[in-house]
Symmetry: C2
Subunit: 378 residues, 2 copies
């Protein structure tokens, strides 16, 4: 290997490096630091701060961080179980990102720092982390929706091996986000690629495509991919959006079934979603009986219309293999979920009901996806 | 359309919405606001703040924002030209993200708020924005690198129409990032998909694939896609990384030429990169003469070895159509770029040299890509 030239280039590079646009904090501060006993230490350097607090979904409320030498504020948690956790600092009353942790995700219009922790192989956190297993491909693709009169963007996960198995055909999970979300939400907040990579590598889920369309019918794409730098809000959830998505959903399926090697029978298709997307998956399954052999409703259902809902009757007459309802015990939509579950029981429809702790939060939607994906296409 | 059910679901959803994990600031504050005269107004609500300043790459230094009613701090710029701009607030001395602007990008380990502005169609900012033109697909794919002994991630842009033209074959631009960067950098900071979409739609660039591998040979992928939540640093630029990437680059090309419909002759391949990636593109072109008909070096070159560099002689003996050097007049690597340019002139090699304002910054690399892409495959 000729190293002379390379060494010369490296030495001469010294001058240029100092002109780099953003050198990063280079602070030498590690935050968060996951300790061997699964406690986590947070650090923030703020010599002029009067109070620094920590808030996170692993704490019951805000806690005070303690100032040490050189204005370094620290806090160490109790041992945590495997999970993806979110947190922020509160510096003199103002919510502040951790400048030493680049990992963050955006929910609607709020960025929050995150970290994952796995206490042992196979716990929840383990499924959300990247491991040295075969990885699927994630693509952001534009498709034509004549029904809505626009090109729209969707995300597609194809499992590891898809490219190298040119004759194989795969089943498809259509996975829908909530209001204020977009076609990136299940990937960024939901860890879909990591969950699927890990479940498939462990032999716990079938290799499948996961298709994540944009479920807000008047948006073409997520912020940054759409025309105009719009600020997302919950107003994305208009009362009639469910209907519009029902009507335009065949455009999505048509595109996927034309451009990807997928199986085209109902028992090779699943539809699931969270909150608004749960209602949408519920509505899609009713509107197109037999199209989806597996239906998942995460913290969102469409309640039956009256005592004899003809759409639900048609849906179950087509014999879906799974009709799965997941909801948190503190979730405002638990009541509706139970109405639907009771209706299923009264009519002899085979609905599975799963109740977790907590409320209307991404922590639960990641859990529901992990459970639901293992039940598909077997 | 049956609206009864939908309306019921929407009404019942009210309770659930209040339990959503992150509702966003819902502050009603627009920041930044691009005014019709291309001035830009920034707003920050900080009733307890003593000083709020604004820093941005459209300002010579920090400026004081002015406090109005309800603790609303504002600043309005002079009219700006079309560009992608970066900024931060400084609240009581602490760098703070704009809580009302979700748009940001990460350079190495630093997140910064951004916005784009186009003063007129076809200016720089216009090319960095999303317009209602056909959009290409962006995929994040894992490939096998036997040379480095690992699976590695790369990003691929396929132009609009690729999926619907199953017999068409396309040329390929291999586009390399700088030290501290990764396979997402050219997409996030470089606006590659937007630039290519817009240039192709305007008929100014040929439809082509753009392949963005990870150029740090000991990393498999960008933060979030790699095992472990590592914090990127400039230490990613080890002195020998250029050589390792040279040796392993055929793994990238082999994967692309097997899995994508691409033309396989040298005049249908280009390689370009910024800073470390500029040196890499320079080294790759020398090591594999005839492989790349177009070579672009943005703020980074490999200088000739002695008065008669045999690799440069072999490179130009293979008759590349373009050997393009771009650098900023304030860039530390301008000296090296001129050494290479002078060497070309002395030896009668056809090197194009382009000098822009400014230094070693992404603003320049976006400009160089926009210029370089228009010169390819024609």
């Amino acid at each position: 290997m000729k190293r002379t030239l390379i060494l010369a280039a490296a030495l001469l590079m010294g001058a240029a490096a100092s002109a780099q646009q953003a050198l990063g904090p280079a602070s030498g501060i590690t935050s968060p630091e996951i300790n061997p006993d699964h406690t986590v230490t947070f650090r923030y350097r703020g010599p002029k701060a009067v109070t620094v607090q920590l808030q996170g979904d692993f704490l019951p409320g805000r806690v005070d961080m303690k100032e040490g030498r050189d204005g370094m504020w620290t806090y160490t948690t109790e041992p945590l179980t495997g999970e993806l956790y979110s947190y922020s600092f509160i510096v003199d009353g103002v919510r502040t990102m951790d400048p030493n942790n680049i990992y963050q995700n955006r929910d609607i219009a709020t960025w929050t720092n995150i970290f994952t922790l796995s206490a042992e192989k196979g716990d929840k956190g383990w499924y959300y982390e990247v491991h040295d297993v075969p990885h699927g491909t994630v693509s952001h693709v534009w498709y034509d929706s004549p029904t809505l009169g626009m090109k729209r963007r969707l995300s597609v996960y194809t499992p590891a091996g898809y490219e190298d198995s040119p004759k194989a055909k795969y089943p498809v999970l259509y996975l829908l986000h909530g209001s204020g979300g977009d076609e990136d939400a299940w990937l960024d907040l939901g860890r879909t690629a990591q969950i699927m990579d890990n479940l498939i590598a462990e032999g716990k889920a079938q290799p499948m495509l996961v298709v994540m369309p944009n479920g807000v019918y008047f948006n073409s794409a997520s912020p940054g991919a759409a025309v105009n730098m719009f600020q997302p809000t919950m107003a994305n959830s208009r009362s009639d959006s469910t209907a519009e998505i029902e009507e335009s959903f065949p455009d999505v399926m048509k595109f996927i079934e034309k451009h990807y090697r997928v199986k085209k029978d109902g028992y090779s298709r699943a539809v699931a979603g969270l909150s608004m997307g749960g209602r949408q998956s519920s509505r899609l399954a009713r509107r197109y009986p037999g199209t989806f052999g597996y239906v998942g409703q995460f913290s969102g259902v469409a309640v039956p219309s009256g005592d004899n809902d003809p759409e639900l009757a048609a849906l179950f007459a087509a014999k879906p293999k799974l009709f799965w309802i997941g909801v948190g015990k503190d979730d405002g939509v638990k009541r509706n979920s139970l109405i639907l579950k009771d209706y299923c029981d009264q009519h002899g429809y085979p609905c599975e009901y799963y109740e977790s702790d907590g409320g209307h939060i991404w922590r639960n939607w990641r859990i529901y996806l992990t459970i639901f994906a293992q039940k598909l296409f077997k």
